[in-house]
Subunit: 679 residues, 2 copies
């Protein structure tokens, strides 16, 4: 327990003493001692280094980027943040990335995109002939930007229009951007920094045949002068809503030549004389990005909820007659606004850890090559379906939690120094990149609907992660009905969770069935495939993806609880019951439509009563539940959320010591009034 320092005493003690469990044990349930140790060392290092100190004043865009650049250099040169075994030790890499994320998302993005992502691309798509680029990257002689999205195409990658035409005479590819709409954009580190790009372009052989998107190593700036090469035009995309420590850029190529060898040729190559050859197909789809972004939500939920729960436990307003004011956290409505997200944080955290582990098992199995191809295909499908759900869900949950937290902190939550503005602005990007949330979510339902069609000839237990095994019993579930006893008052939390899981099994089966039926109806009315799919999203396919994923969230957290120390299980069951019930309650329309509810109106009331009970039971634990996640104050960087709970003292100090707080405006002479008459 020496690993986890005690928290400072203050107004939060009242709640901390009420907790039903030891928060340090809870922290060890969430993170291993090794991870805590790695993180502690990194926290300490960053907190002490001058370059990581928080500036006193707002920075201009250029200052913010410059500072982020300097910090990135510091990260690269630090044995603690960038140890030699970083790429060998995935877990250490993950923990250190989380520490940097807690500090600043722009810094994480910069240091990941410039060097680490291209490393991955060379290993995944390149061959021996690209080793020189890896060496140069290791020596910091070059830095990369990843160019996929174009101005007029994002989600529809097949429609990308940047061309790479092979020229036999010069043995080179000629990259060309037909017009501004085909310019590569949003590429991180491209605005001012990158010397090279990894450009996805349509590969054309001299016979005029297009072989689809391939990736080309493309030098774009002189690493010495940072000037773009002739034939390359680069725009900086300027300020964004958030992530302004990162310089995103736009790039256009004007018949720009690059050597033939710069094609990353693992899955397709062009011979010197211009023939396209495809050595083998890589069966492993890559979901690294989405799996990783799922975890981003955990970081943002952690920060937002640490601030709002601690502040709500200290902030007093109104109270029972003649009894003084009470902390706003005592209000059931305030609990209802925050605790479902607190439960979501726990559930999402455990999910994202497991998803990473299982994704790793999958990739090892693919690399091993000895597994049954069917098994691998099923495994890959599940990972794909889950990550297409969890990436959007995580970003949206964080989005909503940040906003609710901001509002739950009232006026003071609107101060920049409260920290919510930055969390919100940075999290916002997660809802869009690596696949727009709404587009991505369709992948999950598409897969489920394709399974449903084949349900009579499929054994759903063959999917290795078990996320669809209940589809074997679709008949049983479709016949399910809620009785007036469902969710009755005397139900224990474990049983509540089980009932929620059954409800989700019903819901997934029913939504599969209902969506398929709607699609059939549309088909018989003559609609094309494209329209049929789009016309079933709103009330059906969208909810299907959510229902499938929420059920996995619950299932996996339940597994985690069973592995937890006994002293932690009661509070964890409460969290999961709250999570499950609040999510179940969002699907009531489907229960009515599908006939799960049929005159049993008492069930909803039962659910609501359980939620109300759970909120009051979680209340005494709530501060400790968030303490187990909370980063050090330096990383939270919020006047409202410090571990000592001394909110007003921190506000006072911040205001008193902010440059210019008590002095006149520099332009005060202009701001004076007309000569006043005697008042």
């Amino acid at each position: 327990m020496d690993l986890i320092p005690d928290l400072p005493s203050g107004p939060l003690d009242v709640y901390r003493k009420q907790a039903s469990f030891n928060w340090k044990k809870m922290k060890l349930f969430l993170e291993s001692p090794e991870d805590i140790e790695i993180a502690n060392e990194a926290f300490k290092y960053m907190e002490e280094e001058p370059i990581f100190q928080h500036p006193d004043r707002d920075l201009t865009l250029e200052e913010e980027r410059h500072l982020t650049f300097q910090r990135m250099k510091k990260v690269y040169n630090s044995d603690i943040l960038y140890p030699d075994d970083l790429f060998m030790n995935r877990n250490k890499h993950r923990v250190l990335n989380n520490v940097i994320s807690l500090y600043d998302w722009s810094l994480l993005a910069r240091k990941s995109l410039l060097i680490e992502f291209p490393m991955g691309a060379f290993l995944g798509l390149g061959t021996d002939r690209h080793r020189k680029f890896i060496n140069s990257l290791m020596n910091r002689e070059i830095g990369f930007a990843f160019c996929l999205t174009e101005i007029s195409h994002g989600s529809n990658t097949k429609a990308l229009r940047t061309e790479a035409r092979y020229d036999i005479e010069s043995e080179s590819f000629i990259l060309h951007t037909p017009d501004f709409e085909a310019a590569k954009c949003w590429a991180g580190c491209l605005g001012k920094t990158a010397s090279h790009c990894l450009v996805f372009a349509q590969l054309y052989t001299p016979d005029g045949v297009c072989h689809g998107l391939h990736n080309f190593v493309t030098p774009v700036r002189d690493p010495q002068t940072l000037q773009p090469y002739p034939g390359v035009t680069i725009f900086d995309m300027g300020a964004k809503i958030g992530l302004n420590g990162m310089d995103n850029g736009v790039i256009m190529f004007n018949h720009y030549k690059i050597p033939r060898e710069n094609l990353l040729n693992k899955t397709g190559d062009v011979t010197v004389d211009g023939k396209y050859v495809s050595p083998f197909k890589d069966p492993s789809k890559r979901f690294e990005g989405r799996v990783g972004i799922t975890e981003f939500g955990v970081i943002n939920l952690t920060k937002a909820l640490t601030i709002s729960i601690r502040y709500s436990a200290v902030r007093r307003q109104f109270g029972p007659e003649n009894q003084g004011e009470i902390p706003v956290l005592e209000y059931p409505l305030q609990q209802y606004r925050l605790f479902p997200y607190l439960s979501g944080l726990y559930v999402l955290h455990c999910f994202s850890v497991k998803l990473k582990d299982r994704n790793m098992s999958f990739r090892l199995a693919v690399m091993g090559g000895s597994e049954d191809p069917d098994y691998l295909a099923n495994f890959g499908q599940e990972i794909h379906a889950l990550s297409c759900f969890s990436k959007p869900y995580s970003g949206w949950m964080a989005r909503d939690a940040v906003q609710e937290s901001r509002e739950a902190c009232g006026g003071h939550g609107y101060l920049k120094a409260a920290g919510f503005g930055k969390i919100r602005n940075d999290n916002d990007a997660n809802c869009t990149y690596e696949g727009d949330n709404n587009v991505l979510l369709q992948q999950t339902s598409n897969w489920l609907l394709s399974l449903w069609v084949a349900r009579q000839r499929t054994d759903f237990t063959r999917f290795p992660m078990g996320t669809v095994s209940y589809l074997n019993q679709y008949n049983k579930y479709l016949n399910m009905k809620w009785s007036s006893d469902t969710f009755n008052r005397n139900l224990k939390d474990e049983d509540i969770i089980q009932t929620c899981l059954d409800t989700y099994c019903w819901l997934v089966c029913w939504l599969c069935k209902a969506t398929s039926q709607d699609m059939e109806t549309l088909k018989s009315s003559g609609k094309n495939k494209f329209d049929i799919k789009n016309n079933c999203q709103i009330f059906r396919a969208h909810n299907l993806s959510l229902a499938y994923g929420e059920r996995v969230f619950i299932t996996w957290f339940l597994e985690s609880i069973k592995e937890a120390d006994v002293s932690l299980q009661i509070p964890l069951y409460r969290l999961l019951a709250l999570f499950s019930l609040t999510r179940v309650l969002k699907h009531v329309s489907s229960y009515v439509e599908g006939g799960l509810i049929n005159g049993e109106n008492v069930v909803i009331t039962n659910i609501e009563e359980h939620i109300t009970r759970l909120l009051s039971e979680i209340l005494p634990d709530s501060v400790s539940l968030i303490d187990a996640f909370a980063p050090p104050d330096f990383f939270l960087n919020s006047v409202l959320g410090n571990a000592d709970g001394r909110v007003y003292e921190h506000m006072y100090r911040k205001m008193l010591t902010s440059p210019g707080s008590v002095t006149r405006d520099t332009n005060w002479q202009e701001m004076r009034y007309n000569i006043p008459s005697k008042l």
Copy 2:
């Protein structure tokens, strides 16, 4: 029609040609020709004046405030934006305020708070002896900040702790701030600008009796030097999430003397020898603030939806096989994400116009003094209940619409130049000031529940605005049941709306009944009043406030439609039907609990089918529906939302001409790479 210039031709023409109505007629349904003329002149003036040009680069906090200050001066000195009859012509004032709001919220806040709010306060709370302050305000010799909220108290104004003790000897009040937690904060224009404050403080007479909150005119800074006076400490609150053109401040008084006459003494005074006298009680509660903020949501919805709908109509992605790509607006899911807010914009706009009118009628009736006091009391209660609903609802609707619009514009929506960041950050404050949204909403349900208790001895038709008249028939409504024919497919939009209204009548009655019953149960279990109220918020009282208000929204918009040109009625009915159905669908849990649904699961499916139909019917009108609201491009200030729809050209121009876009970073020397090996 000369009043309304034609829109430029471009990619949006396709949709504009599909519209079922004349968008200029629609604009005239929304605004009178007089209002359009006033706005046009103001738009033109601001668009031409150098000081209102949009800067090319990000400003620092100090620069942003300075520029806003200069703009405020320009407003004050402009015959167009600040005409002589401004205070005599409330409608002109409203229209000009809307123009300024469309331009910049900070500018509106600054110019309103510094001079206009104190004018109102002097007229409302002051007497003849304060005329000199009005004169000085008119001459711009002084400027005010309004000081109510304290560091540790916002919503609970009774617990405010700043003291004003009357001192007989010096015939003055001595203002004192006991500690930092009692410091006045969030006062607009206080950080750097105001020479005077209107301070709400607890008035103590020499006998030690506290007479509650009163308002004191308090000089705080020398108008010539802008230095605070001795005895006054002022902090600038620094950067906020948004509204950074405004300087909010904190102020503390150290036994600070002000003349006896500086008490605004309309409703209470202290004699020279220290006796408290209360001339009369002012019966009119003031809801100006909340009524006004309801309209703020309209402005933010307008801006966000103009950008997202126009962009969605131009942005193409995917399409049916071999048929090219289609605008993303063609996707039902995209329509479902945006059109309910578009309908909300129409409904909210008409509501806020009517609410302002009725509030004005109420105030005139109070001033007239000839009306029946019961009538006035009922009128006042309705205005209070409605504005306590509409202020939160409007802020939240705008919040959600801005966020959905941001996400609906994908990656490009994340550019600062898209405009959503600023709209979101500025709108965010609306959810908190003038009463925290969640706290305010309780006022509405409190009132309804008090009416419910007295239902058997109340004639609800006596409430002048008719917002509760259906409570007379509570028995009829409580016996209502949906049949399988409710919302059947053949229903016309007018009938759908009527069915939604009936549903709301049922819902309000049932929520009144259910909440009251829950309260009785809690009472008999021994809970105190305070806890009883708080324990009924989540699933009951909160929804009750929403249901009451949503019904009024629908009712009032229905009135407006009936007054509209016949050619506009079909599209308007569609909007209202969509608004009503999507809102009705949010209360399904209550229908199940209250037994309105009882085995009739087809009703929900009917509702969903109508929504789907309405989306497709609104689609061809959608661009023109938002055109009728859209401000000139200069005010929208978004590369994605221009009236010509030439999105990519505007993006190109913006990036090409932004300072530093194609040059190296100022710090490029530091950003160079290690000396590279030969690549």
